[in-house]
Symmetry: C2
Subunit: 178 residues, 2 copies
Amino acid sequence: MPRVTQAHLDARRQQIIDAARARFATHGFARTSMTDLVAASGLSTGAIYRYFKGKDQIVAAICEQASQALPTELTARSAHDFLEHVRTLAREEDHARLVAQIYAEAAVSPSLAALVRRQLDDLRTAVAALLPEHEPADANRIAEAFVALCDGYNQQLAVRGDVDPAPFAAALVAIIES
Amino acid sequence: MPRVTQAHLDARRQQIIDAARARFATHGFARTSMTDLVAASGLSTGAIYRYFKGKDQIVAAICEQASQALPTELTARSAHDFLEHVRTLAREEDHARLVAQIYAEAAVSPSLAALVRRQLDDLRTAVAALLPEHEPADANRIAEAFVALCDGYNQQLAVRGDVDPAPFAAALVAIIES
């Protein structure tokens, strides 16, 4: 039996996740079956089930990989750059449409909702940590609106196609300075 | 043959829309069939198809009825009251979860996306009209972020359950004053 390296296993797992991301973004979660994911990934049915027991586990893996690439400080420039990054992810990786599917699925799936809630908590905590000069209550308040506005921008990208981030960047700055 | 009044026809049509709203919010759009909607509405299959040719027409009717009940002026108080209204709709009518389903469906359906885009255009225009003291470019910029933040708050409600609107109301005020 050939020796299977961890790198090989990781690459195959990532191949499944990437194929699922693309398929979920274009067809939605409910309209995608494990059979569709087998076809999209180019792997065998047996291979996919070796990594994931079902769609729920794959969408959980997608959520866990969702990197937001937050800036290291919150300035007018970094807010704009961050939203440009969100815009690029929408254009190049269909990220905004994928996020819309994940929110819709989380709204009807308690287990996925729990996962998304934890990620939103982590994201708000990370944003609040970028505001050390604010009182904790103010930092948390700002972080709450910051995260919601970024997700709101994602929703606009998902439905309207490309949307200039400038008004949203200006709003982020106004929120941070409030 | 009994005389059927317009009020009766309207009431039946609304009965179908209300049943579909509830079903879409809890199960999503793709997991709801016309058969499910027949069962949920309490009407016959024939009766439903008299009003709607399919699910797409029903979700379009739901979108067209989406009343945002915008305030007549934008102040700290009215921004807070508006978000309290959004929160109440989420609690009493499952509105936030329904909106999450509509965005997800619009992200993969060009015809629904066109409808949602028109509604977003109308909403931004209505918000901008509440800012007569601003230059048009500024009013449009503020309206863009205002609408996205309200939708972002809806997304939070859809996934986290009840969420205090205070941080979002403060952010709306900061955006309006920016």
